[in-house]
């Protein structure tokens, strides 16, 4: 029988009942599977027929090693957020679709990628979605349960779902903070300083901070004399990441070209030409001043940034500054001001801004060695008497070690044998044996080896 080997397609869990059936069949003479060194097997009963037990397309498993990094990343974010005064919230995975369709929240392109469906009681025809964004649900939570409480610093760690084609992830994890109830440039600067704090603690190098301003973008678009339909479309394509389109359209208005061509750290141009620009384009004055104010604080804090007005990729709900963090070409986080969002939800005139760090992108970018703490020493506990063995293992855990019970007879760096007469033998990786009378003595031995 011909063997088709196509490991890209199939990954099977050896323990599943499905696979037992194939083992069973194999014994009957099919003999058509390959066991790999990972304990993953690729069974084929006949040519072209294969078993498909695999994770959904676009979804990601995280291995123990990746989870260790993930938790550490999340922990660093959480620590920073808490120290800056933010409190954690958790919103549900499922929300009503209309929360995201209300004008000025997500672009139609993003809405076209949401996972929407009818709930089990969805006979009204209104759909629900798997949360595609982190900010909108937190704004909803604030409006629903915290309205009127003034300033709120909230943060979350959650997964977002958007449809992507090819091998891109459809489920993404992010840690984000929302600063609700403050409308000042200081508030914007706080979020950028906070994000920078996290980035520094993650020991990330060559991170670029790019700045744009939604208010400026909108004022410029208004200048292009487009009908509302075209203006929406253009704004959407900028938000969806197309940076060339605005430059193309703005050639007809020279002042715009000047503004849009500003790139880099130098904001001298903006400052020096503020008067002239405001004279030529009076509509941009409030936004330009707002932008300059925030930038002045960033300069005071000595935060490095690049200004690129036409790189406004982000969310439609932004009204003020938009900031994005990049490493190489990859965006690892960002945020912005969304003063109209809570208002549109009926939560009153509440200014707000927020930021988010994309955890799953960082898993591959951070150096695990610099992020992870020194591993806790692991001891394998062997013994014939369960009662004694469990007790000794427990004592080791109390002392801060990882104590694993021996189930498969394999040894690790440190093995502790519990003899039937109560004697203990500690065996190092080099097979060096040391006897001990009590578990306290063992702990001392381990600690003497620099093992905690």
């Amino acid at each position: 029988m011909m063997l088709v080997f196509n490991p890209r397609r199939i990954i099977i869990d050896k323990s599943s009942t499905m696979i037992n059936r194939y083992y069973h069949k194999a014994e009957r003479g099919y003999n058509d599977y390959i066991a790999t060194r990972y304990g993953i097997i690729y069974p084929y009963l006949t040519e072209g027929i294969y078993v498909k037990i695999q994770r959904c397309k676009g979804m990601r498993d995280m291995s123990p090693a990746e989870m260790a990094v993930f938790h550490q990343l999340e922990g660093i974010c959480r620590d920073c957020f808490i120290k800056w005064g933010y409190r954690e919230v958790r919103t549900p995975t499922i929300e009503y679709l209309h929360l995201f369709t209300s004008a000025g929240t997500l672009t139609p392109t993003m809405l076209g990628k949401v996972y929407s469906f009818l709930d089990w009681d969805g006979w009204s025809g209104e759909r629900v979605v798997l949360r595609p964004d982190g900010t909108i649900p937190v704004a909803r939570l604030y409006t629903e349960t915290m309205s009127g409480q003034g300033l709120a610093r909230l943060f979350y760690a959650a997964n977002m779902f958007t449809f992507e084609t090819g091998d891109k992830n459809r489920e993404r994890w992010q840690c984000g903070a929302e600063l609700i109830g403050a409308g000042s440039a200081t508030a914007d600067a706080e979020l950028m300083a906070l994000s920078t704090d996290i980035i520094n603690k993650l020991c990330l190098k060559n991170v670029e901070l790019r700045l744009s301003h939604a208010g400026l973008l909108k004022a410029l678009l208004a200048k292009l004399k487009l009908n509302p339909e075209e203006r929406h479309k253009l704004f959407d394509s900028i938000l969806d990441g197309d940076t060339t389109v605005l430059t193309k359209v703005s050639r007809s208005v020279p002042e715009l070209s000047d503004l849009l061509s500003i790139k880099g750290q130098t904001t001298g141009f903006l400052r020096e030409n503020r008067e002239a620009l405001c004279h030529a384009l009076p509509e941009i004055k409030p936004s330009l001043d707002d932008f300059l104010k925030t930038i002045a604080i960033l300069d005071d804090l000595n935060l490095k940034y690049q200004v690129n007005i036409s790189s406004g990729a982000g969310f439609e709900y932004y009204t003020g500054i938009i900031f994005q963090y990049f490493i190489g070409g990859e965006k690892i986080g960002g945020g912005g001001r969304y003063d109209a969002l809570i208002t549109s939800m009926g939560g009153g005139d509440v200014p707000a801004s927020g930021c988010a760090i994309y955890l799953d992108r960082l898993i591959n970018l951070v150096n695990a060695k610099t992020v992870l703490p020194a591993p806790v020493k692991k001891v394998l506990v062997k013994g014939s008497k369960s009662k004694e063995t469990f007790k000794i293992a427990d004592a080791l855990r109390q002392a801060g070690f990882i104590a694993e019970l021996d189930l498969d007879g394999k040894s690790t760096n440190w093995t502790l044998e519990v003899k039937s007469d109560g004697m203990l033998t500690l065996i190092s990786k080099a097979r060096k044996k040391t006897n001990a009378q009590s578990v306290e003595e063992v702990i001392k031995l381990l600690e003497a080896q620099g093992a905690t």
């Binding site: 209309h98 369709t101 209300s102 009204s124």
Partner: protein, 464 residues
């Protein structure tokens, strides 16, 4: 494996048959909507031809069950807009069967971006309707996917309808105003993407493409009865009882029942397409819609009472277990059985056999049915493991054995099933026409009117 093509029944059948005749296919039985749905071509004897409802064809091509298909662009886009990475290649516009999809409303000045209550859109094209709503930033909307008669919904039961029409005048005839055209549709030859790159069907494609469409276009259009413009005057008050009556072949039995109940009704069945007949009971408004759509419409409060089948009520409750819709009265008409059907050659005779059969195979088990939610529940309850439900829009018998493994079908006598060389392995339940209503509370005046209708019908059924 032979090359396979899916041909449409329904509105495109005549012109597609004419096209293939001109292309010298010499098909033996592709000329009526009845028959066995398995024509053979004398020119391409190895080609496997099947006839499907037009709506099923893009799905069949995308799944790879068929290499080629002919159907309207509207149904292709309805699939692609929701599943853009579907394996479909548009090979050629065959330039017949043109139509437009219009978004229409009774009131042209409708504010589409209103906040507050959701804007309701009724359509046979729910995916296109949703895409339109998202693209045009409707802040809050509900889509009513309907089997047909979308034009009957606005303004009382929906704010807008997305529907197919020859031109704006046809929309006008329904008493609606076209807001905008959403899609211009035509008949297309489509292919499965993998087949298109790997299989050689050039001869077949060439025979179709080289046949000049002009000859087809000149075919005399079936003369439609000029529609009298429907004037919508219905104003519902809070106390108005809204009754839905079925269209199609159930109309005769329904009118007989109403006669027996002493309920006079005018304009049902309608001769001019008016779906709002007059009933001789004060405070009761009647609308004629598809029986398939009634349970959902009663659940969402659009109608208070409806005459439909228990099969559709059961399907609705399988999708929405906590729905407020309930059976009010068994009308004891149109008795059918809902059955699970497999091919005669399959060594499966009952549910236990079925489970063994499914456990011993590696590919997903395929259930085809008009009753997708009943089929889904059947698969879950019978532990069918890895399964897929293929939604169909009629002519489901043609799916076995090549394109599905099991059908959930309704049958009166079992003759059609036997004629297609199929067998029944389980009867799920018996279905008759029934009056359905909602458990939601109503005010006293309305309750009185509802009771009056129920009592009249109860007496009529008792006389049967």
């Amino acid at each position: 494996m032979p090359l396979k093509i899916a041909l449409p029944k329904g509105r495109l059948l005549r012109k597609t048959a004419a096209l293939l005749q001109k292309a010298d296919w010499r098909l033996d039985e592709y000329h009526s909507s009845m028959g066995f749905y398995r024509p053979k071509s004398a020119r391409f004897p190895d080609l496997l031809v099947r006839v499907f409802h037009e709506k099923d064809i893009p799905i069949q091509i995308a799944m790879g069950n068929y290499d080629l298909g002919i159907c309207g662009l509207d149904w292709i886009e309805e699939l692609l807009v929701k599943y853009p990475s579907s394996d479909i290649v548009k090979v050629k516009d065959l330039q017949y069967g043109q139509s437009w999809l219009y978004l229409a409303a009774a009131d042209k000045s409708l504010n589409m971006r209103q906040n507050g209550f959701p804007l309701r859109i009724a359509s046979e094209y729910p995916n296109l309707a949703e895409a339109y709503a998202l693209k045009n930033r409707l802040s809050r909307f509900s889509i009513f996917p309907v089997w047909g008669a979308a034009e009957a919904y606005p303004p009382e039961n929906a704010d807008m309808a997305l529907l197919a029409a020859q031109d704006a005048a046809e929309i006008d005839g329904y008493g609606l105003s076209p807001i905008c055209p959403v899609l211009g549709s035509s008949t297309f030859l489509i292919a499965n993407l993998n087949s298109h790159t790997k299989r050689d069907f050039e001869k077949i494609v060439t025979s179709i493409v080289n046949t000049t469409p002009e000859d087809i276009k000149t075919l005399s259009e079936k003369k439609e009865v000029a529609l009298r413009k429907i004037v919508i005057t219905t104003k519902y008050s809070r106390d108005t009882v809204r009754l839905a009556l079925p269209d199609g072949h159930q109309q005769q039995q329904t009118i007989e029942l109403l006669n027996k109940a002493g309920i006079k009704i005018e304009g049902y069945p309608s001769i001019d397409g008016n779906r709002r007949p007059k009933i001789a009971i004060d405070g009761v408004a009647v609308k004629v819609i598809r029986p398939q759509d009634m349970p959902l419409q009663v659940a969402n409060g659009n109608f208070d009472l409806a005459i439909t089948g228990r099969d559709w009520l059961t399907d609705h409750l399988a999708q929405f277990p906590s729905s407020p819709v309930k059976e009010v009265l068994d009308l004891k008409l149109r008795k059918v059985r809902l059955v699970a059907v497999v091919h005669q050659d399959l060594a499966v005779n009952n549910a236990a056999d079925l489970q063994r059969f499914v456990n011993d195979r590696t590919e997903p088990f395929r259930l085809a049915s008009e009753y997708v939610n009943i089929a889904d529940k059947f698969a879950r309850e019978n532990h069918l493991g890895h399964y897929r439900v293929i939604p169909t829009w009629g002519a489901t018998e043609a799916f076995l054995p090549d394109d599905a493994d099991l059908l959930i079908e309704n049958t009166e006598t079992g003759r059609t099933i036997a004629r297609h060389n199929l067998k029944i392995i389980e009867t799920l339940f018996e279905s008759t026409a029934c009056l359905i209503g909602s458990t939601n509370s109503v005010n006293a005046e309305k309750r009185q009117r509802l009771d009056y209708i129920v009592n009249r019908l109860h007496t009529a059924v008792g006389d049967c």
